[in-house]
C-alpha cells in the first residue's frame, strides 16, 4: 500500500478567500462531488485546492497535465522487471485507492481521449476499470476528483467535452480585486501595503491589455514574484521589469507600454 502521508499538506498554506468559495467547497466535498476550478493562470486555483486539502486534512495528489499525457499515464501501466511484467498504478489509481483528492491541473492540456478515463470516477459509479489489468478499482470513500481549467486560451482544439464538463461542480476564479490583491501581496511577501498597491496598479494596466496583444494579464503569482524580489532588495523598477513585463510578452510595443506604466507608477 502506498504511503498516504507523503501526500498530506502539513503546514497551512496562505489563502485569502475572495468570497464564499471555502464553504461551498466544503459542502461539495461532503457530498464527494467532483469539482472544477476555472480561472486565468496564477490567480490562486492551485493554492485554493492545496488550502482545502489542508483544511479537510486529506492527502492531495496533483497531476500536471500536458499534451503528451496518455490515459496510461493516469491509470497505470505494465513495466518489465526481472521476473516478467509488473503493474504500476498511475496517480489517479493511487488516489482512488488511498482516498486522496486527485487534482488534475490544466486538464485541457491533456488530449480529449485521455480525459475520458476519469468519467467513471466522477459519477455515481465511483469506480475505475483497469482494463489492461482486468481489475475494477472502487474508489475509497474519501476520494474526490478536482480539475482545473483555464478558459483564457480557449481555442477550438483546447476545450473540454460537454460530457466531461457536465460531471463537475465549477468554481469561477478571477484575479482578486485591487484591495484584496494588495493584501495578498503584503501578507505573502511582507512588503508594505503602499508598494503592494503600486504593483497591483501595474498588474491592472496589463490586464486591461488582455485580448489586445496579450493573451493573459499579469497574474497574481507574477506580482508575488515581483514583490519577493523587491523584498529581497532589488530596485522596484528593475524587479517589475524582470518579474512582470519580460515574462509575459515579446511584443516590443506592449513591452514599451508596460515599461512606461512602471515609470508612471513609480515616480
Amino acid at each position: 500500500m502506498t504511503n498516504k502521508d507523503q501526500y498530506r499538506i502539513l503546514k497551512e498554506p496562505f489563502y485569502r478567500a475572495q468570497s464564499d468559495e471555502v464553504a461551498l467547497y466544503e459542502a461539495a466535498y461532503a457530498a464527494r462531488l467532483p469539482v472544477m476550478v476555472k480561472g486565468p493562470t496564477g490567480c490562486g486555483k492551485s493554492r485554493f485546492i492545496e488550502y482545502m486539502a489542508w483544511k479537510l486534512d486529506k492527502p492531495l495528489i496533483t497531476v500536471a497535465c500536458n499534451e503528451d499525457m496518455t490515459a496510461s499515464d493516469l491509470v497505470g501501466r505494465y513495466l518489465l522487471d526481472a521476473s516478467g511484467t509488473r503493474w504500476l498504478d498511475g496517480p489517479l489509481t493511487v488516489a482512488a485507492r488511498i482516498g486522496a483528492i486527485c487534482y488534475l491541473d490544466e486538464i485541457v492540456e491533456a488530449r480529449q481521449d485521455t480525459t475520458v478515463v476519469i468519467h467513471p470516477l466522477t459519477d455515481h459509479r465511483r469506480t475505475l476499470p483497469l482494463d489492461k489489468k482486468g481489475e475494477l478499482v472502487s474508489a475509497h470513500p474519501d476520494f474526490q476528483m478536482v480539475i482545473s481549467y483555464n478558459p483564457g486560451y480557449q481555442s477550438l482544439l483546447k476545450d473540454l467535452k460537454q460530457s466531461t464538463k457536465q460531471r463537475f461542480t465549477a468554481f469561477d476564479f478571477d484575479y482578486p480585486e485591487a484591495g484584496v490583491e494588495t493584501e495578498i501581496l503584503s501578507k505573502e511577501t511582507g512588503i508594505e501595503a503602499g508598494l503592494a498597491a503600486q504593483l497591483v496598479k501595474i498588474g491592472q494596466a496589463a490586464r486591461n491589455l488582455k485580448g489586445h496583444g496579450l493573451d493573459e494579464g499579469i497574474s497574481t503569482r507574477l506580482l508575488v514574484y515581483a514583490a519577493t524580489l523587491i523584498k529581497a532588495g532589488v530596485a522596484p523598477r528593475a524587479a517589475c521589469r524582470v518579474a512582470l513585463v519580460r515574462p509575459i510578452t515579446d511584443d516590443a510595443d506592449i513591452r514599451d507600454t508596460l515599461d512606461h506604466a512602471i515609470d508612471a507608477v513609480f515616480a
Partner: protein, 781 residues
Amino acid sequence: METVTIPAELEAYWKQLDCGFPRVAEVFPDCMREALASLSKQGVEDYIENARFLGKMGRGAEPILIFLEEWPAVARTPGEDALPDIMEFIRKMWKSPNGKAITPFLQSLPVTIRRLHTRERLRDYLAIALDLMERTTSSIHGIHQTFPSPGLPEMFRQVPVLLGQLSLTGLKNWVDYGVRYYSGHPERQIDYFGLQSADSRAVLQRERHGTLLADNERKLDMYLRGLWNEEDHLIPYSSAFDELRQPVPYYDKLGIRLPDVYDDFIPSTPVSTTTVRPEPVEGLCGSTGSPRTDERVLGIDRYRAVLAHVAAHRRWTTAIYADNMSPFQRMAAEFFEDSRVEYLAMREYPGLRHIFMALHPAPAEDACDVEHESGVRHRLAMLSRAILDPGHPYRSPHIIEFVQRFHALLDNSESGTQAMADLAVAFIAKTRLKSDNFANTHFKDTVVDYRDDNRQMWKFIEEGDEEEAFDEPRKIEPGEELKGLPPRHYHEWDYLNQSYRPDWVSVYESLHPSGNASDIDKLLAKHAGLAKRLKKMLDLLKPQDKVRIRYQEEGSELDLDVALRSLIDYRSGATPDPRINMSHKTSGRNIAVMLLLDLSESLNEKAAGSEQTVLELSQEAVSLLGWAIEKLGDPFAIAGFHSNTRHDVRYLHIKGYSEQWGDEVKGRLAAMDASYSTRMGAAMRHAAHYLEKQQADKKLMLILTDGEPADIDSKDGRILIEDARQAVKELDRQGIYTYCINLDPKADEYVADIFGKQYTVIDNIQRLPERLPQLFISLTK
C-alpha cells in the same frame, strides 16, 4: 514724381550700383547704412557689385530690392563668404530659362539661411535646387533647354515649410521623388512642388523627422487601454501646413485628435531660463524640488502626455454651463480644470509629473509688461505652473494664495469642475488689471501644448449666439450607411527607387455578382470521370489521424513484440533493447489555401485549339479544385481581381474561409466575368491580409493568371513585375507560400522573375480542369 536724394557720403556707392529703379533709390540709403555697419570692407564691395548685377539682369526691381534689404542681415549667419555660392547659383538660373525663379529664390533665402545655419549646408541645399533645375528644365527634339522648370519656383515658395520639417536628406528624397514621377508632366509637377498633391504630402510625411503617430498608434492605443482603461480612435491632424494657427489636440465622440507628428521636446536653452527667471527664494512656499527638469521628452512621451490629459478629462471632468461666464472667467476655469485633472492623474500615476513638468512652460514672473499688454494668460500660465511645480519661483501673493486654495480643495478629494470654475471666477476678480482688456496679449510661454482645447468642458443653455460653433458638438451623427467597403491602400514597390510608393494603390473589395449555381453543378457533372479519379487521390491524402510510433523508450503502452525480444535478450545475457514502448501521434493536415484568380480582359480570348475561352476553362478548373479542397476539408477562399489604374483595383470576393462550398459560392463562380487589367501585387497583398489571419501551419496562395502583371497607367512594364516580385517576398516573410499557375505559353520570360521556382506554366490550356486539382494535390502532399 518726387526724386530721392542720395546722401553725399553714399554717393560713390550709388554711382557704383548704377541703378535706375526709383524704388531702389528710396531704400538705398537705409540699406547701405546697415551694410556699412555690419559688413566688412570687402563685403561691402561684393554687396554693391552683386546688387549691381542683379539690377542689370533684366528681371525688374524685385531681385535687387530683396537683395539690398536682406543681405546685410543674412550675411551674419553663414558669413559673407557664402555669397559667391549664392551668386553662382543665381547666374546659373539667369543663364538657363529659369530666370523667373530668381525672385522666389531670393525671397526664400533669409528663412532658408536661418534654418540651414552653415555654409556647408547651404551649399548642399543649392546643389539640390540645381539638380532639380537641371532635371526638370526640358528640351524638345534636341533644342537645348527651351522650357523653364515648372517646379523650381514652386519649390522655393515652399522651402521655408519644407526645411522646417525635413532634414536636407529628406528634402533631397522629396525632390528626387517629384522629379522622377512628374518630370514629364508640368501641371502635376507644379502641384507636387507646391505641396498641393496628395503624393507630395505623403512623401513629405514619410521623410519627416520626429515621432509619427502612424508608427506608434498601437503603442498609444495600448497606453490608453492599459493605463486608463479607455479606448478610442486616435485621429491625426496635420501639423505641417498651418504655420500661423497651430491646431490643438481635442477629443469628441469620433475620437481623439492628435498631431500627426511630434518632434522630441528639447527644453529651451538654459541661458534664456536662467537669465530671465529670478532665482527662487528660499523659504517661500517651501521650494525644495528642482524648479525645472531640463530634460528631453521623447515624441512618444509627448503623445502619452496628451493622452493622459485627455483621459483624465474624460474621467474627471463634467461639462458645466458656460453661458454665465465671461471669456476671461472661462479661460481661467479651463486652466484650473486642466490643472485639477492633471493633479488627479498624477495622483494615480506619479511618474507623469516629470513629463508634465518638462513640457509645461515656466513663464518668467516679470516677463509680461502689464502697462502695455494684457497679462491674463501670463498670470494663468504662472498659476498652472505653480500648481504643477511645488518648487516654483513665483512670489506674487495672489498666485501663492490660489495655489494653496487649489490644494486645499483637492486635499483627499477629487473636487469637481464646478468648484474649479468658482475658484477661477475668484481668481479673475482678485487679480483683475486694467490692462487685461488690451488687445495686445502676452503669449510667450503661456501655451501648454499637451493640453486639449477643452471643448468638452462646456455646455450651453443657449445655442451658439457667441463665439464660433465648434463643428456642432451636439449634433447627432446620422448612422451612416455603409455602401461597400472603404478602399484599402497598399504600397507599391518601385524598383528604380528601391523604395515603396506610399499608399499608391487603392483596392476596393466587393462581393462577386451572383449567377446560376446549377451551371457549376453541370460543369462538375461534365467532369464526373475526372472527379472520380481525383477522389481516389484525395482519399489517399486524407489525414490519417492516429499513427503508431514504435521503438520508444517512453511511451503509452508496451510494444509486446519488442518487449518479448528484449526479455529474451536479457535472460540470455545479451544487452536488451530498452526501446520497448510505443506511442501514438496524430498526423493532421493543416493548410489554409487562398485561390486568387486573375480576371483581366485577356481571359475572354479563345484558348488555343479549343472552342472554349480561357475564362470558361478557368471556371471549370476552379470548380473542380473547389470541390476537391472541400472534400479534403482544408480551409480555403477564392477571390478574383482586376484593375483599372492604380486608383481602382477591384478585389472580388467569391468564397470566404467561413463560407460553405454551397450554392451561393457556386453562383458567384458561375457569374465570373473578365475585364480590365492585371495589377497583381496589390491584389496579392490584399488577399494575404485574409490568409495571414488563418490559423494554419502552412498557408498557400495559388495565383491563376494568364499573363504578366500590367496596367494601363504603368508605362514601364517592369514596375508591376518587380512589384509582384516584392509582394511575393513580403508574403514569404509572413509565412505564406505563393504558387503561380500561369496559362501564358510565353510566361517563361517573366514568371520566374516574380515567383522564383514556385510556378507552373500550363501550355495545353484545355487540360487545365484536370491539371489544376492535380497540381494542388501534389503541392500539398
